[in-house]
């Protein structure tokens, strides 16, 4: 079982599988990347998190040799992406932000073609195709042209294309966008499996939960530069301990409640006017909860729900960019 064009890299945890230094890229007046540094140890998952236009796709495009950076350099498995793009291609699998499939070909035809272009024999390509189709529960649709597929099904074929040759480094640009929860979970499992076997993964995502679930390290980027990095635990710690969420019956009360919460806040207070929700990071959770409850009851504010929760990456995002992730993503 040899794939002539896939280069093997020894799983050497000392060495970073992906290193980028000072990547910049501008499109006319738009700065897409503004000095991005990355380092992804072999066999780990890096989550690139950022709002629309942050530069995630640009970074992935440079690392996968599709575009050249204006300055800076990057290596994949020790190979320079600008100097030796063809060698880099033998080390990577890419699933871009939008499914790149031939819609007139069947699922099998698409994947076998990709396998052949990785240098596999047809038989081997077909064997792997069948395995992956089964894995993604698409065996029944294997022989239908992709134009009859739903968006999520196409997406999974595209992902299968990235996984087909079992390359040592995977780049997945928003891999689960458009997938239903079950397919998303299955993809996570596949990724975890590959990582367990030594594969390195760079994934971009707008699903904060996804970075939390999969990534060993998260780099938050905004306007083309890293604004924070660390494990999901570290990022959460930066944001403070617990969050106190208050759901009000009437949005008119928000201003009054905000004044109360300011007393216990240790970070930015976040309000969602439409839903009459207000959220704040607090130091001593239970104590703060008691204080706030007492005060709001005294002020006769009608509360639908109040509670403490662990911070999510949403909060990280809010804290770091001053924007709410979902708002930015839509």
């Amino acid at each position: 079982m040899t794939i002539s064009r896939i280069t093997d890299i020894a799983a050497d945890p000392q060495n970073a599988a992906v290193v980028a230094t000072g990547l910049t890229k501008r499109y006319g007046g738009v700065v897409a990347l503004d000095g991005l540094d990355l380092s992804v140890p072999t066999g780990t998952v890096l989550g690139l998190l950022g709002p629309n236009g942050a530069g995630k796709t640009t970074a992935v495009s440079i690392l996968t040799t599709l575009i050249a950076p204006d300055s800076g350099s990057a290596r994949v498995a020790g190979v320079d992406v600008v100097a030796q793009p063809q060698r880099v291609r033998s080390l990577i699998g890419l699933s871009g932000q939008y499914a790149a499939v031939d819609e007139h070909l069947t699922a099998t035809e698409n994947l076998v073609m990709i396998g052949c272009l990785y240098g596999m024999r047809r038989k081997e390509a077909l064997r792997r195709t069948n395995d992956l189709l089964e894995r993604f529960r698409l065996t029944d649709s294997a022989h239908r042209p992709l134009k009859t597929f739903s968006g999520g099904m196409r997406r999974r074929i595209d992902l299968a294309g990235a996984l087909l040759a079992d390359p040592p480094v995977l780049f997945l640009d928003e891999p689960t966008t458009g997938l239903d929860p079950r397919s998303r979970g299955e993809l996570w499992d596949v990724i975890r499996e590959r990582v367990g076997a030594g594969t390195t993964v760079v994934l971009t995502t707008q699903y904060l939960e996804e970075a939390d679930q999969l990534a060993d390290e998260i780099v938050v980027i905004d306007h083309g530069r890293a604004i924070a990095r660390g494990t999901s635990q570290e990022l959460k710690r930066r944001i403070g301990g617990e969050h106190l969420d208050v759901h009000l019956a009437r949005a008119e009360d928000l201003a009054r409640v905000e004044a109360v919460l300011r007393e216990v806040a240790i970070g930015a207070i976040r309000t969602e006017t439409e839903e009459a929700l207000i959220s704040v990071p607090v130091a001593k959770g239970v104590e703060a909860l008691g204080t706030v409850m007492a005060e709001l009851t005294a002020q006769n504010v009608e509360i639908v729900d109040i509670g403490l929760r662990r911070p999510t990456l949403d909060d990280v995002f809010m804290e770091l960019t001053g924007q709410k992730a979902q708002e930015v993503a839509s």
Partner: protein
């Protein structure tokens, strides 16, 4: 090199799978050429007289030449579509030969053109066209048509990789290809054309292609004077040389463009 051929065949195979599945391909490759032969044969073939000959037979080589030249535009629209659908980017991320995508496309378009020519030949035969020369000459004539269209596909490949959307291809090519195929001896003998047009027609490679094929098919009306211009006198050589030149110039350009397309 062998890797390049293998990859090009993989790509060509993929393009050929599409023949039966994409209705537009069928229309373009089969229906349109068929319609041309029949229309020209019945509308013009019956009403235009040329001295000493059969205009229908005279026309066939012209229609073939025009069809394969237009057939080459398929290369442009196919590649432009691949760019738009993100497939080129996918290919560019794979460890495949850098010239294989375009080479595979131009190769599969030869097959498309061959199909068109077979259809047109059958239709031509049905309306009374006959090959009156030797089989060998006829085979050379057919090969010349295919090779010319193949070379033109490389020009079209460059166009396909430069345009923003596949739709632009049609507009861009029509403006160039209609004059190219009409200011020629495709449908009327170039001797009948006035002054400058005649000179253009005589040096137009579509004319020399048509003339070469016409001669090889034995479809030159009796008593037609020998051409006076050099390109037409050496029509096979001139057409072949022109085609080779196109490949030499445009194949490297197309490969370079491929490596740069699909910025996203």
């Amino acid at each position: 090199m062998s890797g390049m051929i293998r990859d090009a065949l993989t790509i060509a195979r993929r393009n050929l799978i599409r023949i039966g599945r994409v209705p537009e391909v069928m229309v373009f490759v089969v229906v349109q050429p068929l319609m041309f032969v029949l229309l020209f044969a019945y509308v013009f073939g019956g009403s235009i007289d040329i001295p000493g000959g059969n205009y229908r037979e005279f026309l066939i080589a012209g229609i073939f030449a025009q069809t394969v030249v237009f057939g080459a535009t398929f290369t442009a629209s196919g590649l432009a579509e691949d760019v738009q659908k993100g497939l080129i980017n996918r290919f560019r991320s794979l460890p495949m030969s850098r010239s294989a995508v375009v080479a595979g496309r131009t190769a599969s378009d030869v097959v498309y053109n061959l199909l068109s020519i077979v259809i047109m030949s059958l239709a031509g035969f049905a309306v009374g066209w006959r090959i009156r020369g030797s089989i060998l000459d006829a085979v050379i004539g057919y090969l010349l048509l295919l090779f010319f269209s193949y070379s033109f596909s490389w020009v079209m490949a460059c166009l396909g990789l430069m345009v923003p959307t596949p739709e632009v291809v049609n507009n861009a090519t029509f403006i160039v290809l209609f004059p190219l195929t009409f200011i020629a001896n495709t449908f009327v003998p170039s001797d009948n054309l006035p002054g400058v047009l005649r000179t253009i027609a005589e040096w137009n490679p579509v004319s020399t292609l048509t003339h070469a094929v016409r001669v090889r098919f034995g479809n030159i009306p009796e008593g037609t004077p020998e051409p006076t211009s050099w390109p037409l006198q050496n029509a096979t050589l001139y057409s072949l040389g022109f085609a080779l030149l196109l490949i030499v110039i445009f194949a490297p350009i197309a490969t370079r463009l491929y490596q740069r397309t699909g910025k996203r």
